[in-house]
Amino acid sequence: MTGLVMTSRPVVSHETPEIGHQKPVSDGFSHTTRCTEAKASELSNLQPSLAALCNEEKTYQSAVVVYAKENIFVQPGIKCKRISGRLSLLKKAVDDVMFLAWLPYALNNTSDSATDDNKFVVISDGGPALSEASSTAESEKRDRTLYAVHPVPISDMRAVRRHTPTIGWHHIIIVLHTGLSLPPLYFTNGGVKDFLTVLKQHTCLVRSPDDPNLYLVNDIADPLQRSMTALDLLEVQNRAGWSESAGGSASLFVRGGKDDLDTPSPRDYSLGVLEHFSRVTKLARDTTAHIFGKDQGLDASTWPCEGEETLIKLNYPPQGMLAVNCADGEDEAPVLRVVQSDDDEAAPCDSDSQSRCDDGESASTSVGSFELLESERIVSSSKRIPSRAQRPFPLSVEEWCAFFEPDGRLADERGFRERAFYGGIDQNVRKEAWKYLLGYMPFNSTVAEREQIREAKKTEYDALKAQWQSISASQEKRFTKFRERRMRIDKDVVRTDRLLPFYAEEDNSNVELLRSILMTYTFYNFDLGYCQGMSDLLSPILYVMEDEVDAFWCFVGLMDVMESNFHRDQNGMHSQLQSLKKLVQLLDPQLHCYLEKMDCLNYFFCYRWVLITFKREFEYSLVLRLWEALWSKHLCEHFHLFVCAAVLQKHRRAIIHGEMEFDTLLRFINDLSGKIDLEVALYDAEMLFQYAGEAGQEVLPTSGP
């Protein structure tokens, strides 16, 4: 059966005895109550279990097929067998709500009720037993399960992108308002145009002015209104827990059977993401000015006219990353397969990324620019990201004490690092904890050993300090290098954090300590000397240590890691900014293209962020919190680059639509100082970290900060 079918035949023709609802129904009116029941049942059972899915089917029994097309296939991966199925548009008779669905044909060897090709396989999410199964048939079956597109309301659809390569199958990619996209649907014998024609008859379908192959669904002319509508939509979903439609598409992204009891359900991520959204939504409710004005550095009045990717937070990684993730094994990343349209027959969906850069059509000209809010990396990762609300309190004194063995060894280094990463450290614990984080005290040292270390380091410090203190005035006259360094340090310490009471007022002894420690450091590391920025790095350390010797050695520990930032040839800075560039390229190709177009790929606008690790970007207490999270190295040594990427991504819209050039971008970035929500940035950065996976690790610098 091909082509257009305008009929009122029932959608679901097989029977599901478990539900006790055995009659195919074509009247379309008598099942309103059951629809509601089904919905409720799905809400209570977020996993698309067998029962829930049967309910789902029941729900759509009261619908009519306005369009159906056979032999539309999904290609799970390059080497995977394609999965054929039927694409249909359904209209619920009771309220005229339109749905789109693609359901795979049943496997011939399955024992399910559907054996006829034109019937539908019963969808189950697998469960542990299924995931253990290694037979090809089981894996194929699981693929079918994963890729099924359960009926999605048309109102959830954001856009349809048409791909009509001259060689290869024509296909479409549907992007939802949530930012999720459905797998590419390949039309084996044409018909994309017909599909769009029918869709257009039932919904508002507008061809994007920027891209003739992009069709916006339910496009409201006013971009502000459009964004708000989209936000409200999300809020509705959020209130409902995980709505039917979102749950339906989400099932694409949930691996079958990975949820054993001790790992949290991947659903947590989904909900985490929803929570993430709800924050946006709440803002939207508060005032539009808040979200579009202050928060985005834009007035509502200057809101850009092109608002297509309003809700798009992340983009699909470029193809290199797809390949990497593929190699992870078939169980790893089913969602990535969703975007793998680049098999032998079909043209890669993102192959025009270069031309996108060239003609400057940044927004949403490819499926690549749409992608999902959360990635399957996160969804499928066994690592759970605590939401902001779930983040623990700072590591308390009691907890800190509990970390130690009776002989004074810090027992659980990993646990401590993780704790510092997520919760930060209580101000009363910092003085001791930072000594470990900065490598001054070894984790396995006993109390006695630490006392010895302290004693030896005190002696060493005094000796270093005596070296420069003993330089006489006349000697100094013949010692230009020394004079220059002293001048430079003198000039900088008097303008370092002077608003903080700790360093305020004239003749502040702590400013003197800054001076002494920095001078001593130039003798400890004479080749490096003093560089602007070092006083910024030392200031919080001295503030926490309240001791010259301890602060010096902690600073040495920090500089051991960050020294290359201050090298004359700037190699450390360049390699980090290059890594940041690659990271953004990986995580947000659209932003990357924009920055490329604007000739901003040197990322010098992020120079300050990286050189002194956001020291100037946050209020003092938050700097301490950020630094201990970074020093914990809980996720990786270069997590600050993910923070950079997260903050950039948060403002991608303002940057792109503001058409910022290098100068304005630098100003914009500098002006973010004091306006970045640290916990959000940390959370987003972790999402990006999980999302980037190994591909992210590969672009990071090999050493240094």
């Binding site: 608003l499 201050f566 100068d663």
Partner: protein, 198 residues
């Protein structure tokens, strides 16, 4: 006849070993990391000009950043401290470095301005670089305008910036002779020839 291209934004780069050019002393003042700029409105004749005044990290070590930060500059302001010989001696380095990094199309005629700063310090008793010496250097470099300022006392700073704007605009008017507003291919070819002759 082409109408003059009315530009209202001028990018000005401040270089030198003496900071505090356009900022009052304050506890909130911090050393510049990377680069930053502030904007200043200046009335030049009947035009209101916005000056984008760029401050870059002072330390030589960060000079390589100039390639990015000096791009598109309209004027470069060299500042030294009249109380420190070294800062005056460094003017040559700063000027050369700027021309290398910014690589303006016409380096010989790129507008510079020199400021001798901190003339207020100790009532001028600590002064080691005389006005005469500074002016001689400026003359030798092709007649660079020279100003003595005290950023701390806000002395002569506005006059200096008006002159800076003037100079940058003068350069623009010179450009206007060769670059008509409406450019067609043939006309451009002609002007190119003409400018080549001059």
């Amino acid at each position: 006849m082409a109408t003059a291209r009315k530009r209202t934004l001028l990018k000005v780069i401040i270089l030198g070993d003496s900071g505090y050019v356009n900022k009052k002393f304050s506890n909130a003042y911090k050393a510049t990391i990377g680069a930053d700029f502030l904007t200043k409105e200046v009335q030049v004749d009947d035009r209101l000009i916005t000056m984008q005044i760029w401050d870059t990290a002072g330390q030589e070590r960060f000079q390589s950043l100039g390639v990015a930060f000096y791009r598109g500059a309209d004027c470069c302001v060299l500042v030294y401290d009249v109380n420190t010989t070294k800062t005056f001696e460094n003017l040559d380095n700063w000027r050369d470095e700027f021309l290398i990094q910014a690589s303006p199309s016409d380096p010989d005629n790129f507008p510079f301005v020199v400021l001798g700063n901190k003339i207020d310090l100790e009532g001028g008793n600590n002064r080691v670089v005389s006005e005469k010496k500074a002016k001689a250097w400026c003359a030798q470099k092709g007649g660079i305008p020279y100003f003595e300022t005290s950023a701390k006392e806000d002395y002569n700073v506005d006059q200096a910036f008006k002159c800076i704007a003037h100079n940058a605009l003068k350069n623009e008017e010179a450009e206007d002779i060769y670059l008509p507003d409406v450019i067609d291919v043939n006309a451009t070819a002609t002007t190119k020839k003409a400018s080549g002759c001059c």
